[in-house]
Symmetry: C2
Subunit: 347 residues, 2 copies
């Protein structure tokens, strides 16, 4: 029996070039019928969807980096917004997927998603972990942390590691991976509560509220009297400059995000390149999807650490499709802690 | 018989924090006697000495990077200024060196140098090349070009390579190494004559005068319609920003020098870090002396190319100790072409 239903999706009203506001978004209804989809499509009911800072770059009117990755492709007003998520199959034109199967992959900000043949999704084996973990710590947030720290940052035992936005979706995992690897780890965050979380729950050696710092360079010097070996950068701007001032010779900067620059409000970092030369620093941008080859290694480590309770996944879950705009806006105002997720429906 | 003589050396009068002027320097006389030197010292008559932009960083009042390399150690007013050079032994307290031996290594800006035990110098086998080549193309300028291009920039056949200060001591060798490796190479320089030199004598695919460019980003787009894979950066500042705007995915920036920033007159580069992430760029500072392990490989290649006439070393040689200040000042005003060398004495 064919499923015909109404789907509600969240879309942008216009391109967004500054900080996002809830009013930049609206909910749009569409009719969903399997017969209208390409052969082999799978329709899923969305359970959990991810909201991530990088999505803002795709909503800008001028997305100069469009061609470099599907993660950078522009999203126009009114268009479906894809996102990582977990769903349950309700109708399948693909013999490999049956009604009731759980899937994880690129869904859309909506109540339902149509997964066309060739798009990125797979059957999900939850391995005993909450479903929401599979779009965070056990998915790209975790892989980003792991690959950025070890493959890009080349962190080794005893290294001094600094993480900015340390209580964010990726940062809180970076710090835990680094501690479990024998590094000294300090994180920066934007509130007293987040700083406490880093120190007390997540095992960071130290943490500070960057909003209390009058001079980031001096602040970092205080927390890293012996210098920084690896900086996991989530913010760019002044923090990146201050970190480079405090890097040790042959230090590595893994540039994961520059959230201070996404909204066009923060000024760009102008790092001291004389330091970059004399200290032989490496500054390297990366995207987790270039590291799929180490996904098995990552997932094995993450499951081991999380299964034994040595690592925790902090999730900040909003409820319902209509909460997506506010959840997204929160990412840029420091409102979230850990991985921001929207639960669309109960399993 | 002990040698006692008067040595004339060039020193700074004060620290230099902006662009250097000839009047920042003076010639100072000192008495030189073997008996006053540490046991095992070797006194050489300087034949050729090098003048290099990095030396300015050592003359600044605030040299924050002092501890990272001997190439960054501060040099105070009135102190001997060390430099790479070729000399001839005139008195030796070291049985391994005889009067008349040619040596290459860290000499000083002077008529004579005292090479103390443990300092960096070795006997020179000129291998049929002019002595001056051994402080340029066949020494650190060459190694800098080779290591920066292949080890840091990871240039491979077919890559599109951009070199700034392309007619400089290192740049003109980078372009030739890249061409001989099968790369497409464009250089920037500061005069019409230099641009002609790059295109007509050095075999660059193309070259442009950056002073004629109203918009460096657009200019680079014109010369690299298919993007830049490797940028060998000698200048920093706006050129670095424009290059990053034009880099291809997985591009590499080898940061060799940021001459536009040494004098404090040029503004620092504020590269687009969103591009650095989405294009997964690597920006890496380096010093040639970290690549001594590939010196044999480099010197073999360089001798092969230069011996067969496929590569040429451009040298800009001033005559006499008193020409050192003007030779040095020229480096920052674009006055030199190729490797700047001062011939102190005839062999």
């Amino acid at each position: 029996m064919e499923v015909i239903m109404t789907n509600r999706i969240v879309v942008t009203k216009t391109h967004i070039d500054g900080a996002p506001k809830e009013t930049d978004f609206k909910v749009k209804s569409q009719v969903l019928a399997q017969s209208a989809q390409p052969a082999g499509s799978v329709i899923v009911k969305n359970l959990y969807v991810s909201v991530d800072p990088y999505q803002l770059n795709r909503m800008k009117s001028d997305s100069s980096s469009q061609s470099y990755s599907f993660l950078a492709a522009g999203i126009g007003p009114g268009e479906e917004i894809d996102c990582y998520g977990v769903g349950k199959v309700i109708d399948s034109g693909n013999p490999e997927f049956q009604e009731g199967d759980l899937v994880v992959g690129l869904l859309t900000w909506g109540e339902y998603s149509v997964l066309k043949p060739g798009s990125m999704f797979r059957k999900l084996d939850a391995m005993g972990f909450p479903l929401s973990n599979h779009i965070g710590a056990l998915a790209f947030s975790g892989l980003t942390a792991y690959a950025g720290l070890f493959e890009v940052g080349k962190a080794k035992k005893g290294d001094r590691v600094f993480v900015s936005t340390a209580s964010g979706s990726v940062g809180h995992l970076v710090g835990q991976f680094a501690k479990l690897h024998g590094c000294y780890v300090v994180g920066s965050a934007g509130s007293k509560a987040k700083v406490e979380l880093l120190k007390e729950k997540l095992g960071f050696d130290d943490a500070f509220n960057y909003k209390d710092a009058t001079d980031l360079r001096t602040t970092l010097k205080k927390y890293f009297p012996d210098g920084i070996d690896v900086y996991f950068d989530n913010v760019g701007g002044e923090m990146l400059e201050a970190a480079i001032d405090n890097m040790n010779a042959f230090g590595r900067v893994a540039v994961c995000g520059v959230i201070s620059e996404y909204t066009g409000t923060g000024r760009r970092a102008a790092p001291n390149m004389v330091d970059v030369i004399y200290k032989r620093l490496t500054i390297r941008g990366f995207l987790a999807n270039d590291f799929m080859s180490i996904f098995p290694e990552f997932i094995s480590k993450a499951c081991e650490h999380m299964g034994s309770g040595k690592m925790v996944s902090i999730e900040d879950i909003s409820i319902g499709l209509d909460s997506i705009p506010s959840a997204f806006v929160d990412l840029f105002t420091g409102g979230n802690v850990g991985k921001k997720i929207v639960q669309i429906a109960q399993e």
